[in-house]
Structure formats: C-alpha cells, structure tokens
Amino acid sequence: MAFTFAAFCYMLALLLTAALIFFAIWHIIAFDELKTDYKNPIDQCNTLNPLVLPEYLIHFFFCVMFLCAAEWLTLVLNLPLLAYHVWRYTSRPVMSCPGLYDPTTIMNADILAYCQKEGWCKLAFYLLSFFYYLYGYTAFSAICLTLKIMQYLENIHTF
C-alpha cells in the first residue's frame, strides 16, 4: 500500500511539475517581452501576479504529499525551493493584491535581470525534477509491478 501512495505522489508531482514548467516558461516569456518593449509593465504585472501564488501553492502541495509519503530525499531536494518561495513572498513590496511584481519597479534593470534569471533557474529546476519524478514514478511502479508479478508468480507457484 505504501508504495502505491508514493507512486501516486510521484505521478501527481510529475503532472504538476509539467504545469510548473509551463508557468516558468510563461514567466520567462513575459519578462523577455518586457525587456524588448512589447508589453506595458502594468499589463504584464497584472497577468503575472495572479500566477505567483498558484505556483507556490502547487509546489507546496506536492511537498506536503511527499512528506506524507515519507519520501525524505525528494522532500529535502524540494525544501530549498520551498524556503526560497517563502522568503520571496514575505519580502515582496507593499501590495494590496497577491503577487510579487510591482509595475513601478519591475523595469529596473537589476530587478528585470533578476526575474529573468529566476525564471531560467526555476525552469531548470522543474525540468530536472520532472525527470526525477518520472524516474521515481517508473521506479515505484516498476517495483510495484515486479512485486505484483512476483506475488502473482508466487501465487502460481504455490498454486
């Protein structure tokens, strides 16, 4: 039973990470657009800000799942990002709506570069973790499968 829950966790994380990868790509594109003048920072912040919390929550959600599944290694791998998210959100500018990006400061070259870099780093992280979860999922399902087969074989054997 325990493996199946872990496998389920991995499967869920796999799907959610795929979603997060899209978030990250969206983020990168958005900042690239900002940098190349195509978009108004106000509009861009309005589209980006609502996505921040969902992203953080999704990540938080499967961290909790891994905690429940007692997948310690995976949890430890994810903790730095979790901590970063918490830090990032607590140090956000004064805003009345959820989100991180302030249209008045976002065009500052430092912040723009930082956000871009953040996007790329996250994309890399999510991609790596995507493969990791894929591996975890297949490993678990494989184990699960072998066990089932073995059980089956045993049954046959005993039969």
């Binding site: 990006y101 302030d102 070259a109």
Partner: protein, 1256 residues
C-alpha cells in the same frame, strides 16, 4: 484691436520683424477672442435677468452684484488684452539687447543658424551681425514674391472675420456643445444619476443625514442650509423656477453658441486646414465650409521637391525667449522668474502658432501604421524594421571610415561656418588644441571630428593633477563649479547640448565595462529636459527626419555620407535624406542638408504631426483638490491659495480650451458646478465616500474663459464658506478617486492640497512615526509607503494622462512616504511645508506663496513621453525621478514641468571601441498648453576613451554626487538608511583606492584624488549630513522623505546648492572680477568653505542654500553695512525675524541687492532671504549647513578623510556586505578589480552580486 496687435508686432524690432503672414495673423487669433467675448453673449442672456435670480437666490446680495461684476469683467478683459500686447511689445523691443547681452547658454548665441546665411559678410560684432542678419532675412522674406507679400497684405483686412471665426471655434469645447440638453435643468438633471441612485433622497427630506448628493447654494454655509428642514420645502419650488429660468436664459445664450458651433472639431483639425488655406492665399470666406473639410493632411498633394512647396516650411526661432533671457542676464531688472517665464511661454506659444500655422499637412514620409500606444508613437524601434544588427556596422567599416566620414562632416560644417563666427573661433584655437593637428597636419578637421582621441590637453592635465586632500585645504574654486567640458573638437563642442540640460557623470565615456568598473565611478546622465530655455529653435516641417531603424532624430552628430545619405550616430545605419530636408529654410537654399537647423542645434523642438498623436491634443485641464477640514482651515492656507489663483488666473498656461475645476473635501467630497450661465457656483456634496461618483458630468470641469466669473466668485467665497467647519476627518482617498474620474476623459493636472493624515475611506493611513526615533543613529524606519493605494491610483492617473501635484502643508506627521507616491508615479511634483501656519509661521507662508506663484504660471506639458536613446553598446539601467517607466527606455510622464529633472544610470553592454563618440538623445514628446503636439530633442555627444586617466580627467564631480545621491536614496528605501550611508562612504573609499592603485604611481600616503574629483569626499560628506540621509540628528520622518523626493527631482544646480551651499562674504565685496550687466555691476565675491572658521566675527556672510538665502550678521559686524544694507542703526536694532533687504539707495545696498538678484535669476522658484543674527536660536539653522564642521552626531571633513584613509588601509580582506555598496550597473563586486598590488598573497574574492537578491 487686432490690427493694433498686428502693427505692434510689426513695429517692434527684433526677430519677429519678418512680416510673415503667420506672424501677423496668429497673435490676434490668440488674443483676439477676448475683446469680442462679451459680444458673443447677448447681455440679456448672460449677465442680466435679475428678477428670476432673486427668487432663486437665498442671498440677495449676490444677485445684485452680478451685473456690476459683469461689466467689470468685460473691461478687465480688454484691459488684459492691451496688457498682453504691451508686454509683447516690450519684450520684442528688448530683444536686440538680449542678443547683445550674451546669455550663458552658448557663446555664439542664437545667431548661429542665422549666421549660415550665405550672402553675409562676416560682421565685426555679434550684435550688429544679428541685426543685419535679421534685416537681411526680412528683406528676403518680403521680397520673396507674391506669396508672402500677398499674405501680409491680406492678413489685416481679413482679421475680424478671421478671428471671429477662430473665436467661435476655440471658445467651445465640443463636448460642451453636444446638445442643448446639456444645459442643466437642475432639480432633475443635475442630480446624480450615478450607480448608487437609490441613495439619492429627494431634496425635501432632511439632507444632512442621508448619504447622497445635495445641491446647495454657494453663499449659504452648508450647515445652515441643512438646518432649514421646513423651509426647504418652501424653497424647493423657488429652486425649480430658478433653475428653469436659468436654463432658458442659458438656452438663449448657448443656442447662439450652438449655432455657431455646428462645425466643431478638435482645435487641431480646425486650425490646420484653416491656416493652410489662408496662407496659401485662398480666401476662406467663412468657417461654414470647415465642417466638411477632411482632416488635415489632404491639402499637401503637391510634389514635395518643388521649391514653392518648401515655402511652407518654416523655421521659427523662439526668439521671444528674450523675455526670460532678460531676466537671466539683466540683474537689475529683478524680474520675478515666474512672470518672465509666462511671458516666455506666451511668446513662445505665439511663435509656435506662427510656426505651427504652416504645418499645412501631416503627410510625413514616416511609414508608421496607426499607432496604438504612445510607445509606438514616440517610436520605439520598429519590430519589423531592420534591427540595428551588426551588418550595419560592418557595412560601414568600423573605424577608419567613420573617421573619414567624420572628416566629411567636419569639412562641411567647418569651413562653411567659420567665416561667420570669427570672434568665437579665436577662442577655440588655443594652443591645447593645436596638438590635435599634429598627426594629420593637412587634415586638422579630421582629428577635430575624431573628438577626444588625441593627446591630453592642458585642461586635462590640470584635471588629473593628484591632490592630497589631507594636505590641501583650499579646494573650492573661487566661483561655483562649472560642468567640465567634454574633450571634443571645437566644432562639436560648439553644437553640443548645454550641460544644464543634459549632463553626464563621465564626460569621457570609458570604452568598456571593464574600464568603467576599474574607475569605480557611476556612469549616468542627469537630465533637465523641459527646463525654461532662453533660446530654442522650433522646427515645423512635414517630415521629421529620423533614423529608420532606431528612430533617432537627426542631430548635429550624424554624418552625411553625401548629399543624399546620412549615417545615424546611434545605430550607424545609413539613411536617406528626404527631399524636403534638402531645402534649408534658414538660408532658403537648396542642397545643404547639413545646414538645416536640426543639424546645427543639439536642442531643437519639432512641431509634431498627427502621427505623433493617439488622440487630438488635449486642452489644458486643471483640477484643484482642496482640503477644507478643520485642520486645513486652522492652518489657513485656503485664503492664500485662492488669492494666488485669482491673481494668476489669467496667467495659467492654456488657450481658449483651458478647463478648470474645483473639488474640496473633508469627510465628504464637494464638487462645484461652475457651468456658464449659472448665477453662482453651486456646490454638490457627495457623502458616500465608499463609492464616490461624479454627480454631474459636464458642468464640473468648465471652460475657464466662459466661466471665469463663476470661478472668480468661487475663489472669493471659498475661504469663508468653510470657516465654520468642525470636521476633522479627511477623506483624501475618495477625493482623489473622484478627481481621477473627473479628469479621466481629458487628462490634465490635478493639484492636491492636503494638511493632515488621511483618515477616512480608501487610502486611509495611520501614523507610523515614532517621535523618539527621530534622532536615532540606527536609521529611520518606514521610508517606504504603507499602502499601495496611492501608487495604484497614480498608475491609473498616469494611464489617463493625469498628473497629480501634491502640496502638503501639515504640522503633524502626514505619511508623506505614502502620499508622495501619488505624485511620484504620475510625474507630478511634491511640495512640503512643515508646520505651515499662516500666522505663526510667516516664513513658510511666504515660501508657499512664492512657490504657488511659480507653480501656477510655469509651463506645463501634457500627455508626455520621454525616450532616451544612446549609442549602441550603452544601455539604460535605472531611472530616477518622478515618472512611470513604460519600457526599458521610455518614461511616461502624464505632465511634464520645467522644474523637474531626471537621472539615468547607464551601463556599457558592448565595447564602444569601434566608435570615438558616444551620443545620448532624449526626446520629449508632449502637448503644449496651447494644444500643440511638440517634440523636444536634446542630443549630447561625448568622446569615448580607452585610458583610465582620461576617464578620471573627464569626471564630473557634481553629476557623480547627484547620481550617487539618487542611488543611495533608492538603497535606503529598499534596504536601510545605514546601508545607504555605508554605501556612500564605500563609494569614496573605492574610488580613492582605485585611483591610487591604477593611475597615480605615487606611493604617497594620504587621500589622493585627481583634481577633477577633489571635491568628491566633501560632497559625499555633505550628502551624509543632509536631512534625507543623516542619522543622529533629530529629523522628522516627513521632512526626511521630502528631502529624498527633492533629491530625486531637483535639477542639478539646485541640488548642489542644497547639498553644499555657496557661502560668500558680502560686507567687503570689491568690484574685482565683477560682472557688468547692462547698467548694473554685479560683484562676484569668492566662495568660502563651509566651516565656522571662515566666518569672522566682524563680517556679513551670505549663504545660498538653493531654496533659501541666509544673511548672517555677526556680532561685531561693520556698522556701516548694517546701516547701509539693512537700514538698521546698529546690530542690536536688527529685528529677530527679518526676511527682506530694504531697497536703500546706498551703493553698498545696491551692490548686495544686485548680487542677490543675480543669484535669484537662475532659479525657478525664487528663494526667500532670512537675516540671521549671531544668537543661539537662529544660529542652529545656519550652522547645520556648515558641512565641514563637526556636528553633534556627524564627523568633520578632516575626520571623514581620516576615516576614508583608515578604510583604505584596512584593505579588502574584510568580508564585504553587498548591501553596503552601491552597485554600479554592470559591475560585480568592488573587490574584483582590486589586483594583488600591495599584498600579493591576498586572494581576490570574486563573486558576483547578481546572485544576491535585489529586494524589490
């Protein structure tokens, strides 16, 4: 009347002498409407009708006074008109003098483009030369055949009809004449029909308790009115009839108006074709046909290259600015800058009309599609056009050929312009520049064009002289420091942008980022783009020539490859010269594109065509939002505001479309119906502050000209109206929301007066200041905003082209850091008067009045954007100032005013090695108060250098200090005050160490800096002692925040005077080195160090702090000085709060006043003077400015230097906290560049700061 205006123009000597049709026609168009104003409105309809009004009014006195007022007003109008004319005439007659009295702006001044007239012999002196030039030009114009002649002849007979027509067009804003139904029929129509209509309770019920709207009469104080419940039913019918009659009365007047205004377009649509037709000699019989006239643009179907076509081009010099140059150069006149600037404005706008009249079409060659945002308007680089790719540069071989082309320009510029400006040229041929020609003896122009590539001139040697600060004590120059001149060829130097407008921290741009990092100095620009200029070429042409790929405007630093092609100096693309550009309107010759005014001046203004508009140019719209809570009345600002506005009502920049509105608030928001035709202003109260709405849409913002009487009446009655108010709450947020809603259809300027912390509704704030922390040494808390309400509102405003200017007059903490956001992001300005009280604090009151005078009359530009372009390889890092950053190089400025400046941090992304010059161009696109779309373009050109020593030699210490101040303020808000302070100190330490290790090979101990930077540590110390950044001295949070706001927006000279005031001894001024301006002698005393040891016990000292003067009279001061200058018999008899210098006829007094006036002349806001006696209380205010001395909490200059020395010797091994460094863009950590010079074993710690999170 208009004819007289015409002759006035004609008879005046000077620039405007050329009898171009426009010169004649335009000013009457502007001034013309006024005299006919009363005739437009049948007296019966407008002013008369006493009987119904009496029944309507509850206070009879108003009704009786109405007719008399009307007549006064009409005479006032005409008076005003004459005055205007008179002023113009005066200015124009003064013009030649101004030409003689050289302005500091440029040495061979306005004559320059004129000087390129081909047929002119080199004249002996500038003055005569100018006059000749003009006469010549006039001759040219007058003899230029039937075109002009006919026009000027035609212009005057056609006047009456002409301006009448104009009058009709301009008088009425289309929205006002939309239908007769717009006329309010009060009880029914004007009642708010807003979203929450269930709130509105009929008039008969008791109005006070219900939220909603009530319509009260102006004269009746609110509480009285609402205290009449039984009477109100009785009054009700009275109202009804009153309104009815008002409506019909109005109807009479306005149906006439409506008839006249069937053909309403926006001004621009009307004017352009109209003017076009009249100029082309087609008699436009009446305005009737205008209605079906297609929008501007069609008439110019003629072939562009035909010479006759080019007569449509005109090149208008804003000559007028003579007006302001008068005030700038003549000291005796003591013209208040405020008034002179409006005159300037008026005239400039007249000129504008003149020039703009010719904008016959907008058929530019620009291929821009219909723009959908301002971004594309001003011209971000086209996404689809060719990007500034490398092949552009490759195409033109990088270095040699550039030099070659450069030579070509130089040839073209050089010899041609040489004969004219002979006197000034002699100045440039100083020995230092002879070195240039050594490598290319035959091509002296070549090396000249190459800029700062050749050897080191003497000036540079002087700038590089190592100075040991611990030994040399007299560092200050005798006169206030000038901006260093970039090391360019004389030709380029001559056309370069004025340092007052455009200044770079490094006048020699380092070639690479690595070199910049080595220098440890910030690279940035300080810009004052909209400042009042004394001379500005205004160019009207169909095509504004711009680079096709980067959209740079053509400027003096482009290279002409041949007659038909030019190479952009920013992206190096080769562009074609359009046909039209081949014609030079100044010399009226063909085939000399390099002599066009655009190519001869680095600051020009274009009249933009409709390609540069998203919508028709907006009218000038002003909304005044006034705090009328108890606190505000206690402070008593309202009376002075109303007085000031009444006085300046006619001087508000604008045209016939100008609109004004008023809004007051305490715990409710009050609107004022000023619709023309009402007998009295009508107050509408909205008490539903949670969901504030606009009770009436077309009568709250009214045309100033039409409703002037009502506005005046409102302003006279406003102070008394609220005198009984006991309301202590302030619903600022809702009032601002209402203002936003009111203004959003048009855009414009909101002027907000606030006296306390907003306590109600959206955007309410809490007190965050802890008075016990005011003098904490740790730094200050709460430097950032508490809420983003004001920021969001400002962004909304900015989107609707509304600028909000904040006047905060509070005695208590009002959370300026939150409130200021409303101005910061809507490109407004902030004024703060701590502990303002009209009786107890006369000094603040005086300052308030002076500021207000300037504020109300200064120029204003609406719906503006500013783009800064720079040579490929450079990029913009951060902007500082009040604006909203729209994209990486575009600032959106809802309003732009002449007193705010901007700073820009730059970084070098690619090596600049393949060019010898770096250029920066700031283009400000705005709508003038006269409804013209204009583009002001400034271009700055600087040499690129590869040696560190050259970088240091060109360092501009003042600009560097200002940029660092801006960076430090950002740091103190994003991180903390103490970090910002440390970062500033570290900036000095870094710089001195970098200099020591890289340039000076002297192993001398001490703090050694190049002479160009010798004041750097002093300025940084002064910065640390400013209110914005000081710790340990008691500073109110609001005052600190305000000081920060000022650092972000003040122009550099003003900032430098605030930072490091100029101190002079004035009791023994000699005539040595004095300036002689007209007939006054302005003595030039030496600057003194800001240290108490320089103050002697027997002298009188003047300290110029930028926004205030202190005249310090010491105890044993010369009795004759006290007597002659102050008019007091002895030291003891000087009154304690003396704040003016009497106009005595003694030579000493005249001299002091001449000097003071001269100092005042160069600044926008006139500064009050305080006479400070040598006693304890007054001393403190003065002594806090003595920055070199030790104060209770800050070190002296000498201690500061020692501290720097210690820090340097401590070296680099200590751990570095990134927060304690100002990060210069593009650079990593300071330690990176520190090589193993002293201690070879030390490992160099390189870590990039990029990874440290920049806290947003």
């Amino acid at each position: 009347m208009s004819a007289s205006g015409f002759t006035n123009l004609d008879s005046s000597a000077g620039f405007n002498q050329n009898p171009t049709p426009n010169g004649g026609a335009a000013p009457p168009c502007q001034n013309g409407p006024l005299p006919t104003h009363p005739s437009m409105y049948p007296p019966a309809g407008y002013y008369g009708v006493p009987p119904p009004q009496q029944s309507y009014l509850s206070i009879p006195s108003h009704a009786t006074s109405a007719p008399s007022k009307a007549s006064i007003a009409s005479s006032a109008h005409s008076q005003n008109y004459y005055q205007n004319n008179h002023q113009q005439q005066q200015q124009q007659t003064q013009l030649p003098q101004h030409q003689v009295a050289l302005s500091p702006y440029s040495a061979p001044p306005p004559s320059q483009p004129y000087a390129t007239l081909p047929s002119l012999a080199p004249p002996p002196s500038n003055a005569q030369f100018n006059q000749q030039a003009f006469q010549q030009q006039q001759a040219l114009y007058t003899t230029s055949g039937p075109y002009y002649g006919q026009q000027s002849y035609r212009a005057s007979p056609a006047q009456p009809r002409h301006h009448h027509h104009h009058h009709q067009q301009q008088q009425h804003h289309p929205s006002l004449v939309s239908s007769p139904a717009g006329i309010p029929v009060y009880p029914n129509v004007s009642y708010p029909s807003g979203p929450a209509s269930s709130h509105y309770v009929p008039h008969t019920s008791s109005n006070t308790s219900t939220p909603g709207v009530m319509s009260t009469q102006m004269g009746a104080p609110l509480h009285q009115f609402s205290a009449l419940p039984p009477a109100s039913t009785a009054v009700q019918p009275g109202y009804g009839t009153g309104h009815q009659t008002a409506a019909t009365v109005n109807g009479k007047g306005s149906t006439a108006a409506v008839q006249n205004n069937i053909h309403q377009h926006y001004d621009q649509n009307n004017q352009a074709p109209h003017n076009y037709n009249s100029y082309s000699g087609v008699t436009q019989s009446s305005g009737g046909a205008d209605g079906d006239r297609p929008p501007s643009g069609t008439p110019s179907t003629s072939v562009h290259s035909s010479p006759s076509r080019h007569q449509g081009l005109q090149y208008g010099y804003v000559a007028n600015s003579g007006a302001s140059s008068a005030s700038a150069t003549t000291s005796g006149a003591a013209a208040a800058p405020s008034s002179s600037s409006t005159d300037d404005d008026e005239e400039e706008e007249d000129e504008d009309e003149e020039a703009g009249g010719d904008t016959s079409s907008s058929s530019t060659g620009s291929a821009s599609p219909v723009p959908n945002n301002y971004d594309s308007l001003e011209g971000g680089s086209y996404p689809d056009s060719m990007p500034p790719s490398n092949n552009m540069t490759n195409q033109a071989p990088p270095f040699g050929s550039f030099g070659y082309h450069g030579m070509q320009t130089a040839y073209q510029h050089g010899p041609a312009s040489r004969p004219d400006a002979s006197p000034s040229h002699s100045v440039y041929s100083q020995p230092g520049y002879q070195q240039y020609s050594q490598p290319f003896p035959n091509l002296s122009q070549l090396s000249a064009a190459l800029g700062g590539l050749s050897g080191v001139p003497e000036l540079e040697m002087e700038a590089l002289r190592p100075v040991n600060l611990l030994q040399e004590r007299n560092l200050l120059p005798s006169r206030p420091l000038e901006a260093p001149e970039p090391n360019l060829s004389p030709d380029l130097k001559k056309v370069n942008c004025s340092p007052q407008t455009f200044r770079c921290t490094l006048t020699s741009i380092p070639q690479t980022q690595a070199l910049l990092n080595k220098a440890r100095l910030p690279l940035g620009l300080l810009l004052h783009p909209f400042r009042d200029l004394q001379q500005l070429p205004v160019i009207t042409s169909n095509t504004i020539v711009r680079c096709r790929s980067c959209r740079t405007y053509i400027n003096p630093f482009v290279t002409f490859l041949d007659q038909r092609r030019w190479k952009c100096n920013l992206c190096y693309r080769v562009n074609d010269v359009p046909d039209e550009f081949m014609y030079n309107p100044v010399t009226r010759s063909y085939g000399e594109p390099h002599k066009r005014p655009e190519v001869q001046n680095s600051t020009v203004e274009f009249i933009a065509s409709s390609d540069y508009m998203l919508r028709p140019p907006q009218p000038a719209v002003y909304l005044f939002v006034l705090d009328v809570s108890h606190n505000a009345l206690e402070a008593g600002y309202l009376k002075y505001f109303c007085e000031s506005l009444l006085e300046n009502l006619d001087k508000l920049p604008g045209d016939a479309r100008t609109k004004v509105g008023f809004l007051t608030f305490d715990n409710t928001v009050h609107f004022y119906n000023l619709q023309e035709g009402l007998s009295q202003p009508q107050m509408l109260v909205v008490s539903d502050i949670d969901d504030v709405f606009i009770p009436s849409h077309d009568s709250l913002m009214v045309n100033l000209k039409e409703s002037k009487e009502l506005v005046k009446e409102l302003l006279t009655s406003l102070p008394a109206m609220f005198s009984q108010s006991r309301e202590t709450h302030s619903a600022l947020g809702p009032a601002l929301q209402a203002a936003f809603k009111l203004m959003s259809p048009t855009g414009g300027r909101v002027t907000l007066f606030q006296t306390q912390l907003p306590t109600l509704g959206a955007g309410k704030l809490q007190s965050r200041e802890d008075p016990n922390q005011r003098s904490s040494t740790k730094g200050a808390q709460h430097l950032g905003p508490a809420t983003d309400f004001y920021k969001k509102l400002a962004l909304d405003c900015s989107g609707q082209q509304i600028g909000v200017d904040l006047f905060l007059l509070s005695s208590q903490y009002a959370d300026l850091s939150s409130l200021a956001c409303v101005s910061k992001y809507s490109a407004g300005s902030v004024f703060y008067y701590p502990s303002f009280h009209c009786i107890h604090n006369p000094a603040q009151l005086e300052k308030f009045q002076r500021d207000l005078d300037r504020y109300l009359t200064r120029k204003v530009g609406f719906e503006a954007v500013m783009r800064i372009r720079c040579t490929k390889g450079l990029s913009i890092h951060t902007f500082h100032g009040n604006f909203f950053v729209r994209s990486t190089d575009l600032l959106s400025l809802a309003n732009v005013n002449p007193d705010s400046a901007f700073a820009v941090q730059m970084s070098i992304e690619d090596s600049l090695a393949d060019s010898s010059l770096a250029c920066f161009q700031a283009a400000l696109l705005y709508t003038s108060s006269k409804g013209k779309r204009r583009i002001r373009v400034h271009t700055l050109c600087l040499p690129v250098v590869s040696q560190l020593s050259d970088v240091y030699a060109g360092a501009d210490v003042q600009a560097i200090t200002c940029l660092l101040a801006n960076m430090a303020i950002d740091r103190s808000i994003s991180s903390s005050l103490s970090d910002a302070r440390d970062a500033l100190v570290n900036a000095v330490v870094d710089f001195v160490s970098a200099y020591k290790s890289s340039v000076s090979n002297l192993q001398q101990s001490g703090v050694v800096v190049p002479a160009a930077m010798r004041l750097f540590p002093l300025y940084i110390l002064a910065l640390l002692k400013q209110k914005a950044l000081r710790t340990g001295t008691s500073t109110r949070l609001d005052e600190r925040i305000f000081a920060m706001c000022e650092f972000k927006t003040q122009p550099l000279p003003q900032l430098m005077r605030m930072l490091h005031p100029d101190l002079y001894r004035v009791d023994n001024m000699s005539d040595q080195g004095a300036l002689h301006l007209n007939d006054t002698v302005v003595p030039q005393p030496h600057l003194l160090h800001l240290s108490a040891e320089r103050l002697s016990r027997d002298g009188a000292f003047l300290m110029d702090c930028g926004n205030v003067f202190y005249l310090w009279i010491s105890k044993c001061c010369n009795e004759t000085f006290i007597c002659d200058v102050l008019g007091c018999s002895s030291y003891a008899s000087i009154p304690p709060n003396m704040s003016h210098i009497p106009e005595l006829q003694t030579p000493l007094s005249e001299r002091v006043r001449a000097f003071l006036d001269w100092l005042q002349d160069n600044r926008a806001f006139s500064s009050p003077i305080h006479i400070v006696k040598d006693d304890a209380s007054a001393k403190a205010t003065l002594f806090q400015h003595l920055v070199e001395d030790r104060s209770e909490s800050a070190s002296s200059y000498h201690e500061f230097l020692q501290h720097i020395q210690q820090q340097m010797s401590k070296g680099w091994h200590q751990e570095r906290d990134w927060r304690k460094y100002l990060r210069f863009p593009g650079s990593s950590f300071p330690c990176e560049q520190q090589q193993t010079d002293h201690m070879g074993a030390r490992s160099v710690c390189v870590f990039t700061a990029d990874f440290y999170i920049y806290r947003a």
